[in-house]
Subunit: 429 residues, 2 copies
């Protein structure tokens, strides 16, 4: 226990002043409770002075049995915290559902709320029947059962995963919530076998330069991956946040390419074909290329660049004047986030946010900034920097180069407008 | 990308040799696949040479719609991966269910499989009606709604939680699986408000020495916590692994005391009474004290000492001769795990295991050790050391001091017996 934590230290201290200052806030002086001006406080305080505390219904009767849920579920009072499915997209087998980022805390996305993007629906694969084939320009092709794959050495890492169209350039004005805008991003702890280990088993021929990954879904989604990535941090993943992959995430096995656009982390992985040239498959020609202003298209734009978004306060939420913690998420496909700056005056001035430790490479990083809102309308924004020195651009700066024809790889700063009544809305509008 | 990862480096290398050596194994020479002697391999290899790969049923028909699960669930093929409830305990409101540790990977326990220990069942609390009162030896008592609590500065940390009776001393011979033996331990990412922040708000009076925490369940579970812990790393938690706490974990708010025995992290928290002396409540007198051989009892034994267990291979699993990765979990209530040693010869010799990075204070630490089983019967064990230098004791060493009357705080080494047929069983038997 640190000296700083000794009771004496606290008693010597003007209430909360040290804590507020430590939080890097401008709120010198009075306590948080004062600044927050807790609305229910005066009314409820009487309860403490005048009577024993109210005994609620749930203390007067036994609760539900232990193990009444052998696989637990969220509280019924959280039934609205669900995946965010576009009204016109829910019935499609090629569509997406978004993580409700504005409802979540920390950096781990629970498996039940992890974003989805499917091209041929979600297959129900029997792991006993599933096989993973590694063939092509190799010395010793392999056909692996899931049990066999699990006998190789394993690793666990916390990595984000993000769809490359998160959101499309034309869509930035349409979203209302943080989920609507960048909910095609989630983060989990993945466990699997290093792809490098398997490629060493099969032995690469000298002409080997790419690996074509194929999924066992109805779309047979196919992407070409540079050999260098396959021999670096690529994983063959069978577990997510401790338990086996969910069907929506590629059960029983998926490719995971940390920092690359999500669709390349091929789900329901059945085939790795080692080749000399890319496959130029549908998903890397007709789709997932970036249209530029001059009519050309950028192909094989794999890496998701540095990005951040304020999740609280964010669109459709309402805040009160006084203390509000600004918090959100930042991530970069190129490595660690080294800093997040927050602006509470429409990007006129920027202040550094506090990053939750540990900051992990290619993982969500939670940032926080303590703020006293004076009740005047304003716009709040966050701006991420990664370990390569790259700084998240404004939408204006990004589109000045990329134009508006592009759909993929929009990592622009997201502005949130705060009205006089505390209503938070999309600052692009 | 490291030079080591360049394709040339791989081609120059006898298959897997570098990888095996890097893994610290004694398996010099032939590749992993050879050592593993993949059983299905010969049979299935023909498929690659002689015909295009088999196209399974799930590639010939569209899969389930996107968003068909607005809150996702595990695969139907994983329906047996559930909480482990004692047959005679399932119907009790005061009982426990265990995490199936032997089925899980990594360090995060998914919320659906987090262990449970309830004393009056699981209350269904309406967060809008719930209040948290902070009173007693304070200058300014507080009664907080959940919305008010969430307006204070927040933190997120990955911490383990463990029941103090995991397992009882007499129970070590009864368990068959890793879950049976130490499944009353789980690990998650918690988000909440530092209790220190709230205690600074209310202002401590000079006589303040303890804080009595009371739950809003039918048992009104009550524990006394030393003020020093409350001013150190204690949290008021409302989120677990990103989403709101599950009802089984204290929804809408619980106390979290990192490294302390689980029952002190009072769930459904309704009251924090700052006092000069402990409450000597039922759960710290009749229960949760440690009976010693001389008939005395140790009281207020808060900290969970360093512990580890091999989860794979473990009881009721079966292994084949050749390469097997030994993996498991280690943790300490006193801080970081600094090392885990593995013995594959019944504790005659010990070798260091590899610790998955990052190693976090008071969190599960995943360890791995590559092993080539020669097919002869043996006993495998793991032994953890924490940053204080404390080494996990054998059951014999522990009981030499503690005797067998005690039920709580058994952190002894767990032995797994491996028979000639590869069957793994409880080494205490």
């Amino acid at each position: 226990m640190s000296d700083d934590a000794a009771p004496e230290a606290v008693r010597r201290t003007p209430r909360s002043r040290r804590q507020i200052l430590a939080a890097g806030s401008a709120l010198v002086g009075g306590g948080l409770a004062e600044v927050i001006a807790l609305p229910a406080r005066a009314e409820t305080m009487g309860g403490i002075e005048n009577m024993p505390p109210h005994v609620p219904r749930w203390m007067k009767e036994p609760g539900a049995d232990v193990g009444s849920q052998l696989y637990g579920q969220p509280s019924e009072f959280e039934k609205d915290v669900i995946r965010n499915v576009p009204k016109n997209g829910k019935q499609y087998t090629s569509s997406a559902s978004r993580t409700p980022l504005q409802e979540l805390d920390g950096i781990i996305t629970p498996n039940g709320l992890f974003y989805e993007r499917h091209h041929g629906g979600i297959p129900a694969i029997d792991p006993a029947q599933h096989r993973l084939m590694i063939h092509g320009l190799v010395e010793r092709p392999l056909l692996l059962t899931m049990d066999e794959l699990r006998r190789f050495p394993t690793e666990s890492h916390i990595y984000f995963l993000e769809c490359s169209g998160n959101p499309g350039f034309e869509a930035v004005k349409q979203g209302k919530t943080a989920s609507d805008l960048v909910g095609l991003a989630s983060c989990g702890e993945w466990t699997g076998v290093r792809l490098k280990t398997i490629l060493e088993e099969v032995g690469l021929k000298p002409e080997a330069k790419w690996v074509v990954a194929e999924g066992a879904d109805a779309a047979a989604l196919t992407r070409s991956v540079p050999l260098e990535k396959c021999l670096d941090d690529a994983l063959l993943v069978f577990s997510q946040n401790g338990e086996r992959l969910r069907p929506q995430q590629g059960y029983p096995v998926r490719l995971l390419l940390p920092g690359f656009e999500g669709n390349m982390s091929v789900k329901w992985l059945r085939r790795l074909n080692v080749v000399a040239e890319p496959a130029y498959s549908r998903e890397e020609t007709a789709k997932y290329t970036d249209s530029m202003p001059d009519g050309t298209a950028r192909q094989f734009t794999f890496t998701m660049e540095a990005k951040s978004i304020i999740t609280r306060p964010s669109g459709t939420q309402r805040i009160a004047a006084g203390f509000n913690e600004i918090t959100g998420l930042a991530w970069s496909g190129r490595g660690r986030i080294t800093g997040v700056e927050v602006s509470v005056d429409g990007s006129t001035t920027w202040q550094p946010a506090v990053l939750q430790q540990p900051v992990l490479s290619r993982a969500f990083t939670r940032f926080r900034y303590p703020w006293a809102w004076d009740g005047r309308p304003t716009v709040i924004l966050s701006r991420a920097t990664d370990e390569t020195g790259y700084v998240q651009p404004s939408f204006a700066d990004l589109t000045a180069i990329r134009g508006m024809k592009s759909f993929y790889h929009n990592n622009a700063i997201v502005p949130w407008r705060i009205a006089a009544d505390g209503e938070v809305s999309n600052g692009y509008v």
